[in-house]
């Protein structure tokens, strides 16, 4: 359903879209029924000369079933939707697959810093690649991320991944994603973080392993050439 509006490019995106669709049809159906009854009553019971209203208190059990039955329907739907929500949330937020790589994301007013592991696929080694407002990931690879903020609350949002996670100063928050299609997509900050909040865009590049290796190759040569001056 959401794919009609925006591409889905991660495994979690598919699950979240599924839940969205489930909710859409469940509540959509009952919503139409309720509106239909409302408008039906308005038309059917319009004031007519000589016709008096009926006296119905709605206190007896017999009368109350007109609201208690729909109420059971609401409860039943709630149970189904809660089950769906819990299942998807578990998969997205709680069952964390073993990552192939870890990246570090640092938010600050008003830029994103990304630390990519280099060709050795491990962080905190000399071949790490640091970029600003540009994130490069391999397709079909499971990533863990470590998110932090240097000043205020920001929110790391990648709409095509259906991923959003606040960056809270003082904490390192972890999460994961696994891209499923290549391309170039938007990253945004989703929490009001001051004057430059709208000016915190970053670009997500999801690359094939070859393209990613080529990009890393370029970067690590540069890093190697400048590493002498770094330390």
């Amino acid at each position: 359903m959401l794919e009609w509006l925006i591409p889905a490019a991660s495994t979690s995106a598919d699950e979240i879209d599924w839940l969205f669709t489930l909710i859409f049809w469940t509540v959509g159906f009952w919503f139409l029924v309720a509106q239909g009854i409302l408008f039906g009553f308005i038309v059917k019971f319009r004031r007519r000369p000589g016709v008096r209203s009926q006296y119905i208190a709605g206190e007896s059990k017999d009368e109350k079933r007109w609201i208690s039955w729909p109420h059971y329907v609401v409860i039943a739907c709630d149970v189904v939707l809660i089950a769906g929500a819990i299942a998807v949330w578990r998969d997205v937020k709680q069952v964390i697959p073993t990552p192939d790589e870890t990246i570090r994301v640092i938010a600050q007013q008003w830029a994103w810093t990304f630390v990519h592991p280099g060709p050795d696929r491990r962080l905190d080694t000399p071949d790490d690649v640091v970029t600003v407002n540009e994130l490069h990931v391999r397709n079909d690879t499971t990533y863990a991320f470590e998110l932090s903020s240097l000043d205020v609350v920001h929110s790391f949002s990648i709409p095509v991944f259906r991923l959003k996670q606040d960056a809270v100063p003082g904490r390192v928050i972890t999460g994961w994603f696994r891209p499923t299609k290549t391309g170039t997509f938007d990253i945004a900050c989703a929490e009001m973080c001051g004057l430059g909040h709208a000016l915190m865009p970053a670009v997500l590049h999801i690359e094939s392993p070859e393209a990613h290796a080529a990009w890393l190759g370029d970067r690590t040569t540069v890093a190697a050439a400048t590493s002498g001056s770094r330390s």
Partner: protein
């Protein structure tokens, strides 16, 4: 406005009073109610103007906005923040609870005034000061506060981050004062309803709107304490440099979020309950029906009030809380749909077998039900933790809560104003203008916010002054939706002129009416229109419940509460 003379002893003194003491420093609950109503309406124009300005920027980026000028990122943030704050704290609350609460409670329970009239006046005066302070906060050096109406620290706590050294503390001071005003009002309402009811006005004969205002006041009083504590800490962080919310000094930014939403979510129901109460009163009168399942509705309001305290962390699904907590809050959040849905079903059932007259107040009341249903069902997408990961802080949220807040804050207000106008001023509003205004508001309203569901589902975040930097989120199609929403807003504004004309013209020139033009049952309609200071010529006695319409074997299809037989 003329003040008919009555047997009430104070009238003679009052005749000598100046306009000043009668309309400005009055302790009469009706005058105070109207003061709240008029202040709220003026603030609504300001809050609406802000919406116009920032919507224009979204539809036509970086162009001069007529009547305003260029919108910078800084101004955009301040406009969004103050639009939200003003609409909630200076429009919805004062109009629905303070305005109609004040006007209706003594009239509906049959007493001459609030139990503490001076406290009541003080409450309005503090509220007025708070409104002045929020206005000042918009023009001080550095401009108005721009950290969103939720004011999350550390952004809101330090001028180094928010760049509004005066705007942020003044904003917070204004909000805090406003809370004090409503605390005083809430105490007064509760005490009055408990103690000052007319003989025969038993608990189960109290009109449902009065019940709901009292429940709302209690919910407000129970939720605001933690927030005031949080606000004091925030004010200290801002002004004297304490660091309650600063993690580098052992503070915690999430502490504020919990305190804020522990108040902020119940707050939604604080304004919702009076609004639904108003709708309930109106549908019974214009369907000539007894309110379906009065006791069940009362039970659902109490349940809603209670459950509203257990849902706050659904605003924090992506804030870095323990993921297990999200399950609990998903369950409680979806649970609240049960009493609310049941209440709406009871309203719909009330229409069954009725004799429905589509007068303007009834149109508004029915529109409330239809539109609020949209707000309700779209809330499920956000209450379900997993879909909220995606939808949080997008325009989907903006559309959802406007489908709840617009019915609450605007539709219910128009329902109430058009319904009680004859009581307030002794004259009727014009029906043709009323219907024109109704359609001129409802149709554009949907054209503003349905597009925003789509832009939100497509991933557009809120509080972003320009999408030019996001190629994927600013496709031509999304931009066209933004233009549609903005044009609809302009149309809606133009039609508000119809309301203003109708209101002020009818106040002086409208058709004169007697005490009970709608043939309604509740006690306020037994007082003269407009009621004098002291309300009733003789204190009423109550013989039955408020909704005896269409009683079999009676000649009249209504049976006022104060009529003995």
């Amino acid at each position: 406005m003329s003040m008919p003379a009555t047997a009430h002893e104070v009238t003679a003194v009052h005749a000598l009073e100046s306009v000043w003491s009668r309309y400005v420093f009055s302790t009469d609950h009706k005058v105070i109610g109207l003061q709240y109503l008029f202040t709220g309406m003026a603030m609504a124009l300001l809050g609406g103007f802000m919406a116009y300005v920032f919507r224009m920027q979204l539809a036509f980026p970086d162009q001069v906005v007529p009547l305003y000028g260029l919108v910078t990122a800084r101004e955009y943030n301040a406009l969004v923040t103050n639009h939200g704050s003003i609409m909630i704290f200076w429009v919805a609350m004062p109009v629905l609870i303070a305005g109609f609460g004040n006007f209706l409670i003594p009239l509906m329970i049959g007493c001459d005034d609030m139990v503490f009239p001076r406290l009541n006046r003080l409450s309005y005066q503090i509220f007025f000061v708070s409104a002045v302070i929020i206005l000042i906060s918009l023009v001080v050096p550095g401009g108005g506060f721009g950290g969103a109406w939720t004011a999350y620290p550390p952004l809101s706590a330090s001028a180094q981050y928010n760049h509004t050294p005066w705007g942020a503390p003044l904003w917070l001071l204004a909000v805090a004062l406003e809370f004090v005003a409503f605390l005083l009002g809430g105490i007064n309402f509760t005490v009055t309803v408990m103690n000052a009811r007319a003989p025969g006005m038993t608990a189960m004969r109290i009109p449902i709107v009065v019940w709901m205002i009292v429940i709302a006041s209690l919910v407000f009083m129970a939720s605001v304490g933690p927030l005031v504590a949080g606000a004091v800490m925030l004010l200290l962080d801002q002004t004297v440099g304490t660091r309650f919310y600063d993690p580098t000094a052992g503070g915690d930014p999430l502490l504020w979020q919990h305190l804020f939403w522990f108040f902020g979510h119940p707050e939604v129901y604080v304004v919702l309950l009076p609004a639904t109460g108003i709708v309930a009163e109106i549908i019974t009168v214009f369907a000539r029906k007894k309110l379906f399942a009065y006791k069940t509705i009362l039970g659902t309001s109490i349940a809603t009030g209670i459950i509203s305290f257990f849902v706050w962390a659904h605003h924090q699904f992506v804030a870095g809380i323990d993921p297990r907590m999200a399950h609990l809050f998903t369950i409680t959040t979806l649970l609240i749909s049960i009493p609310i849905a049941e209440m709406l079903f009871a309203f719909i059932a009330t229409l069954y077998g009725g004799s429905i007259e589509l007068a303007t107040p009834m149109l508004w009341a029915l529109a409330f039900i239809a539109e609020f249903l949209i707000g309700g069902v779209t809330g499920i997408f956000l209450g379900a933790n997993a879909t909220d990961i995606y939808l949080h802080d997008t325009y989907f949220v903006v559309a959802h809560f406007h489908y709840t807040f617009f019915p609450i804050g605007i539709i219910a207000t128009f329902a109430a104003v058009t319904y009680w106008f004859p009581k307030m001023f002794g004259r009727r509003m014009n029906e043709t203008l009323g219907k024109l205004h109704f359609w001129g508001t409802i149709i554009p309203f949907n054209l503003i916010f349905i597009p925003l569901f789509l832009t939100g589902a497509a991933g557009q975040h809120r509080r972003i002054y320009s999408y030019e930097n996001f190629p994927q989120l600013s496709t031509p199609w999304l931009n066209q939706l933004a233009v549609l929403a903005t044009l609809a807003l302009i149309v809606m504004f133009v039609f508000q002129a119809v309301f203003l004309v109708n209101f002020f013209w009818s106040m002086r020139r409208g058709e004169k009416v007697g005490a009970n033009p709608w043939n309604a049952n509740t006690l306020e309609w037994s007082a003269p229109s407009p009621p004098p200071h002291g309300n009733f010529a003789a204190m009423p006695t109550v013989y039955r419940g408020p909704y005896e319409y269409g009683v079999p074997d009676r000649e009249l299809d209504y049976w006022p509460q104060h009529v003995a037989s």
